[in-house]
Amino acid sequence: MARYVGQRLLQMIPVFFGATLLIYALVFAMPGDPIQAMGGERGLPIAMANRIRAEYHLDQPFFVQYWYYIKGVFTLDLGMSFQRRPVFDIIAQVYPTTAKLAVYALAIEGILGVAVGLISGIRRGGIFDTSFLAVSLVVISIPTFVIGFVLQYFIGLKAGILPATATGGASWRALTLPAITLGSVSFAYVLRLTRTSVIETQTADFVRTAMAKGVTRRKVVTGHILRNSLIPVVTFLGGDLGALMGGAIVTEGVFHVNGIGHTLYRAITRGEPTTVVSIVTVLVIVIMIANLLVDLLYAALDPRIRYAK
């Protein structure tokens, strides 16, 4: 197992450099001159613009800029935003909200998705299965911003059951509607995945054996079928955790959650390449760690992967 972990860690290094180089190249290929944009309509005096360019190393060749940036990443110095705030501080301030939201959404989609999927799989073709098939298809087909807006409007504004926005602080209560919005699409996928997996597992030899030797139905379902069906589901949830930790640009925007997705969106629209790159780098690292954890969890759940090497 230790060897496997080491191997996966080593594999992360080239992916990290590849991803950061890619984002760096992409963001700097974006049109527009951010320094001139800072000056608004009239633009900045040339001397001042040059001074700022030198400060952000924007006057250097591409690879020199990349070098400064990588050096900054490893010394936890992510530079300053154009509003003269350290990017590191900005991220540290908004990230807890995104993490909280991600965990909340993951809990909702995981618990509900597995429960409904299991029942659907076991009672396949029944009313429960068919109606949730319809529900999941509808949920998958609705754009997130529509789900978010509908929840916000009807539950938050009309009924007033839950806060419509998270402007007053990111309490669990305020994050409930955003979390439901975020979790809804993945709930549908978790449901479908669990259902498929349960149906597949039902045909396995060990299920037949368990039934033949008279194990109670409850035990077959929870001990044999569910446990063995969870492997692809856990993989999916892990990947989804990575995606959720990457911030939800749309959902955070709709509910005014001050998280990393919203911050990133603002940095893009303002045209601040250095801030965008720094935030994305942090996100890439987080997603990579989440993916690593999934692989490890997967190997722990399914010994065939560990020993296949």
Partner: protein, 366 residues
């Protein structure tokens, strides 16, 4: 070479291709009950939107960016009436016309994005999986790097890069398509590459090689035909995500200018503030359009998934009671030893990608 090419012996070819005449028809025939209903409704919805997109000029009462008719300006935020069946938007455009022309935009983006993703991703996957070695490693590295990005972010950045800030009709459609392509190429690549890795160990590949077939022929004649069965499901996912990403880009303001082409996401964004004022028609109708077209694609994908996955295939007339089904299942397991073999075959996936293709979904348009 062409006369006596031993690799063109039919036995080497894939068997299922021979007997199939019209693939779509055979597919519909192989379904039944709910599955067939889903497939037919899905196909119907898609066909409807394609027809609307094709005939947009004919059926739309006005142009998508018209704000005045023969009787002068339309007026803004008018409720549905005989002149404007679905009312007018905050910008004074006809909602129905924008929805009809929006179908054209959506269908174009789906076609372009899916075609580009397949054209790039599939050959790369076959090539990388077949050649192996350092070439394969580099490709896997690049796609892994692409995977590490939040995909909507990727789409935003690519669309800003491609459209250079100014979105003409084609520029906007192309930018949205490219940004979806960038997100989807790694998915096709992964699935096809892994399938190729296992397919190239099959005897028929050795046979072709021994018989002197060139690598290109082995890759795109023999292997491609055998690894492409997962493509339809992946393509439907790709298509539905293309629509949602397009809408998401439009919603966030990175999409197509409203005067250049009609786009549902943009209209929805503009309609949000209307809803709080009780003006529902500007938002509800484009929303319904998005939901219906994505649902159509999702229905087709869902039933394809059921049909193409033998482990999920239902036998005709299966009872709904779980006991009866389990019993039937146990009986079928006893009589069909191959079933259990396939059940066990979803064993360790190959090295780099532990995720099964069925879970290949992104939390994308959030």
């Amino acid at each position: 070479m062409a006369v006596l090419d031993p690799t063109s012996v039919p036995a080497v070819r894939t068997p299922p291709r021979a007997g199939r005449k019209i693939p779509g028809l055979a597919l519909i025939r192989s379904t039944h009950g709910l599955q067939r209903a889903m497939l037919l409704i899905g196909i119907g919805l898609i066909a409807f939107f394609v027809v609307v997109a094709l005939l947009a000029d004919v059926i739309a009462p006005y142009s998508f960016n018209a704000i005045r008719g023969p009787d002068g300006l339309f007026g803004t935020q008018l409720p549905p009436s005989s002149a404007h069946l679905l009312g007018t938007t905050v910008g004074g455009m006809d909602v129905l016309s924008r929805i009809i022309f929006g179908a054209r935009t959506a269908v174009l983006v789906v076609l372009l994005a899916t075609a580009m993703s397949i054209v790039v991703g599939v050959p790369l996957g076959v090539f990388s999986g077949y050649v192996g070695g350092w070439v394969d490693r580099v490709f896997v590295l690049v796609t892994d790097a692409l995977y590490a990005f939040p995909s909507l972010l990727m789409a935003i950045i690519v669309s800003v890069m491609v459209s250079r800030g100014q979105s003409s009709a084609f520029g906007g459609i192309f930018a949205a398509s490219v940004s979806i392509t960038v997100v989807f190429v790694p998915k096709y690549f992964r699935v096809i590459r892994n399938a190729t890795m296992s397919a190239k160990a099959e005897p028929y590949v050795d046979a072709a090689r021994v018989a002197g077939a060139r690598p290109a022929r082995i890759m795109f004649g023999h292997i491609l035909a055998n690894v492409s069965q997962s493509l339809p499901v992946l393509a439907t996912l790709n298509a539905s995500e293309a629509i949602l990403t397009l809408a998401g880009l439009g919603f966030l303001g990175f999409g197509i200018e409203p005067t250049a082409a009609a786009e549902w996401g943009y209209d929805l964004n503009k309609a949000l503030s209307d809803v709080t004022n009780g003006i529902w028609w500007t938002g509800v109708f484009p929303g319904i359009a998005i939901v219906l077209i994505v649902a159509g694609v999702a229905l087709v994908g869902e039933s394809l998934n059921d049909v193409l996955n033998p482990l999920l295939r239902t036998r005709g007339g299966a009872t709904t009671a779980d006991e009866a089904e389990l019993e039937a299942m146990v009986r079928s397991v006893a009589t069909q030893p191959t079933m259990t073999d396939t059940a066990r075959a979803h064993a360790p996936p190959s090295e780099q990608s532990p995720a099964p293709p069925s879970s290949d979904k992104e939390g994308d348009e959030r």
